[in-house]
Symmetry: C2
Subunit: 352 residues, 2 copies
């Protein structure tokens, strides 16, 4: 791409004239929640490219009266990476929806890609198609969890099941830059998820990572708080929690699953006696706010940080609300030129 072409595309992206590409057949439930979410997003004014089998998508879209007037366009992709296939299947399957969707971003036809499909495959497709930001060996999935202090930022929550120590050290820097440029957070603190606050507690991996993070802190590149434990996540002891993608994925799914079951118990308890049923009517509104804070579909999807383009990855079990919110979130990130600012931030951090 010439420098001029690039400038035109960047301008288009900044003016938000570009649609968001949705892997519309990815996820546990296929096209239905994806199309429903895209229709909802389009009704609020967002342009969406629905990527997937065009016959299936036309049929699904036909269920929504007036959909033809919405800013929705179908981009055909004959193939899809199933949830039980291998992430490496992404290579060589050019017609797979996740590959086509990433290609739309690469070619400047979409501002971002969103997928509720196979996380590993989404990561691989974005890595192969969009490439990496400078100084990043592996991208990571960055997400937020509610905490007593507001929220914490945690990565990797699922892109890399097996890691090398330097990946985590790089992610600490990436997430620090992210919070600086996106949330205007000055000097965000980084915690390394481990099994004891003391420096020497942990497993073989975290002991090595700890030493690298200490070095990065000594060089002034990050604000390293030290080890944090499982309980520190909801306490919000640090702004950022760094971990490998295996542990982070378990943390994320446990946190969401626990909140769901606990609120179920609270609901059951409120309906258990006549007295508490009356009380429940009075506390309902107050409790709704707490439940909303913990609902993963509020965020919709998580940023794959470290690739040279906007890529969002959500749960396979995502519902239409999650899809809609993910699309809106991706669009907001594109409007504020997240990748451009992240790149600048990384250059500045490296030059410090």
């Amino acid at each position: 791409m010439s420098a001029k072409e690039q400038a035109v595309m960047q301008e288009a992206a900044a003016a938000n004239t570009l649609p968001v590409a949705l892997d519309a057949v990815g996820g546990d439930f296929g096209a239905a929640p994806n199309v429903e979410g895209a229709v909802a997003a389009a009704r609020s004014g967002l342009s969406v490219l629905l990527v997937g089998d065009q016959v299936k998508l036309h049929a699904e879209l036909g269920k929504y009266p007036g959909a033809s007037a919405l800013p929705l366009e179908i981009v055909d992709a004959p193939d899809v990476i199933g949830m039980s296939e291998h992430a490496s299947d992404v290579r060589g399957r050019k017609g797979a929806s996740i590959n086509v969707a990433n290609r739309l971003v690469k070619d400047g036809r979409a501002s971002a890609v969103v997928s509720m499909g196979h996380s590993g495959a989404s990561m691989a497709a974005s890595l192969l198609t969009l490439g990496r930001l400078k100084g990043v060996d592996r991208p990571a999935i960055l997400t937020h969890l509610p905490a007593r202090t507001g929220f914490i930022t945690i990565l990797d929550v699922g892109a890399n099941a097996d890691v090398k120590p330097q990946y985590l050290a790089q992610w600490a820097g990436l997430a620090s830059t992210y919070l600086k440029v996106v949330e205007d957070r000055e000097n965000p603190s980084v915690g390394l998820l481990s099994i004891g606050e003391e420096d020497h507690k942990g497993n073989a991996l975290t002991l090595e990572v700890h030493a690298l993070l200490r070095q990065a802190a000594d060089a002034g590149r990050i604000n390293f708080h030290g080890n944090v434990e499982g309980r520190d996540i909801f306490l919000g002891s640090t702004d950022i929690v760094v971990t490998d993608g295996f542990t982070g994925n378990i943390v994320l799914k446990l946190a969401e699953g626990e909140a769901k079951v606990l609120f179920g118990w609270v609901r059951d308890a409120l309906g258990s006696t006549l007295l508490s049923k009356v009380g429940a009517l009075l506390v309902r509104n107050s409790l709704r706010g707490v439940a909303a804070r913990l609902d993963p579909s509020t965020y919709g999807a998580s940023l794959l940080i470290g690739v040279n383009g906007l890529s969002y990855i959500g749960h396979g079990s995502a519902d239409a609300r999650a899809v809609k919110n993910a699309l809106l979130r991706a669009d907001r990130a594109a409007q504020t030129d997240l990748i451009g600012r992240l790149t600048e931030g990384l250059v500045a951090a490296a030059g410090d």
Copy 2:
């Protein structure tokens, strides 16, 4: 020890004439919560050996009027392994409270050992002093978490930060036998904690463990359900969840920390408006039951399974209630000859 001596000791243990040994100076807060918990347990009739610096323990015990009439005895141990020391420090420090306490069990003077001190050090002390059950390379900390189905049993939650695949396979068998003999649970199901339900999803470790668990299931030794995810823990998808001690420790502390923070939010929400304050009075009792279900001090401490003796390990942050409950729990296990039944069960399982 002669066979006759052994028989006498076993009889004494079965008749519950033996006290429980408490590492009374271990944990984040030293002697105070340990002594307070032991006094409470002794008031309910339990005999306790308080192991630690005798001057310190006498002073602490002096705060409780009438303590001298309780079935409490101080056993001097001049040394203590601090929370920030290395687990391996246990070797060669014979006078450390955790070593003295384990020695009391080994010598038949106590039915069980309970410690809120350094988990790794407690594990090492029990392993070195009490030895292992047959077929067990490494003991694991086994605990329970509440689940929609009642509770689940999870191990290892902190004894082994780095593991080999066969450890997890052995723990699956150990926990299965435990649930059979302790809970009369027939054919308990085993889930391997991973990041996707599909067999091939996971990290390098879980892929190897998966194959071993499949073999054990094919040989009829365990009831292997397959991989489970973070969300399955609170759903109670399996009776047992097997994981390494790093992941398990993070799971345990996250689960407890999240419950605490969530209930704090519920409490805040209930006090946020006049209407909800009135409602809160009506729902209070119903909610109390939910909170109790999630309070870790109800269990008090977790069983170190795989050593040839009763050893319980609790949180460093344990309060007096946790200490008391841990002592009572250890005593109940001794009364029902848990180790004897576990050993028999393992022999039977091996002979199947």
